[in-house]
């Protein structure tokens, strides 16, 4: 098989599996009443997922080697504290991101 055909089929598979995973819960639970446990998950899972995504974003941080995850730690603290204080999403994100860029480009 030539490279182009292989790549086209591979992309179709990747797109198809991704769509399947994204749509499956809706397809399964679209008819009738949602089971109570799924309803419970619908209410509380988002809190757990966002926690999971925060950890997922920081998965490549190496706390035992220089710079010991300090840029990430400082920037996450800036975002969190600023957000608790002002509750302004855009302000928190821009300040945290700029701090992080300055930290890794100039400090560490």
């Amino acid at each position: 098989m030539d490279k182009t055909t292989h790549a086209i089929i591979a992309i179709v598979i990747m797109a198809g599996v991704t769509f399947l995973l994204r749509s499956l819960p809706f397809l399964i639970f679209s008819k009738g009443k949602t089971p109570p446990f799924i309803e419970f998950l619908g209410k509380y899972l988002p809190f757990a997922i966002i926690g999971m995504l925060v950890v997922y974003c920081l998965k490549d941080v190496r706390p035992l080697a220089y710079p010991y995850g300090l840029p990430e730690l400082i920037a996450v603290l800036i975002v969190a504290l600023l957000h608790i204080w002002k509750r302004n999403t855009l302000l928190s994100i821009v300040s945290g991101t700029v701090s992080y860029m300055l930290l890794i480009q100039l400090v560490f």
Binding site: M52, V55, C57, G96, L103
Partner: protein, 233 residues
């Protein structure tokens, strides 16, 4: 009305704009280096619309991986999307023809925005979700194309700008923490994932983490519901 809706959606997606342009740039550059030009970047960003999976996809394409490997890898990397659907069943109910696209465009970032957003009263809920999804998708396509076409001539160092994604999730986490008294799910999410990261390593911790979170939530369900019943009277 319509203009107001799009303006509102645009403002709430600004952090994603910054992050997607940068992550998309990186992807476009990698894909070109692997020997696939702008049309491939366009096809992948339109039909897959998946950050981490497109990065993984570059090596699958370049290495000529078997189709079984491609399917299994996609399943592993993308399994977390099952969670998003489960928790949006009610929000997306009755979205009609828009639903097909809402499901396709359900990335980590779109999920973070729609799962906690308070839709303003003056707009139709599903139109708002649709606007957020489509804007994010356009940012992503633009980033991927830009990387593919002009990746080599970026004049300043944008190193670290991808932190905007992390920052977005942190703000959503804090926002949810402040708005909800029941903190067990959030603690289960962070704690369970950290534990699995330590045990399984950064390559393969996500699926164990998802299973652990489901298990812990199932176990915490009775006490949580009892607490809520007490609160309600």
């Amino acid at each position: 009305m319509r203009a107001k809706l799009w303006k509102r959606a645009f403002i709430s997606t600004l952090p994603v704009l910054a992050g997607y342009i940068v992550l998309g740039l990186g992807f476009g550059i990698l894909l070109r280096v692997a020997g696939f030009g702008a049309l491939w970047a366009l096809a992948m960003s339109v039909f897959m619309f998946a950050g981490s999976m497109q990065y993984v996809g570059v090596s699958l394409l370049a290495g000529g991986a078997s189709f079984l490997t491609v399917a299994v890898t996609t399943l592993m990397v993308q399994a977390r999307h099952l969670f998003y659907g489960v928790s949006l069943i009610d929000r997306y109910r009755g979205a009609g023809a828009k639903k097909l696209y809402l499901m396709h465009a359900l990335t980590d970032e779109t999920y973070a925005l729609v799962s906690h957003s308070h839709v303003p009263d003056f707009v139709d809920e599903h139109s708002y979700y649709f606007a957020v999804s489509l804007l994010n998708h356009l940012y992503w396509i633009a980033g991927c194309m830009l990387g593919s076409l002009a990746g080599a001539i970026i004049p300043f160092s944008s190193e670290g700008i991808e932190f905007s994604m992390t920052a977005l999730f942190v703000t959503v986490f804090v926002e949810q923490w402040l708005s909800e008294k029941e903190h067990r799910p959030a603690l289960i999410g962070v704690g369970g994932t950290l534990l699995c990261l330590l045990v399984f390593g950064s390559e393969s911790f996500l699926i164990p983490a998802m299973l652990l979170i489901l298990l812990a939530l199932a176990l915490a369900r009775r006490p949580m519901e009892r607490k809520e019943e007490k609160k309600n009277g």
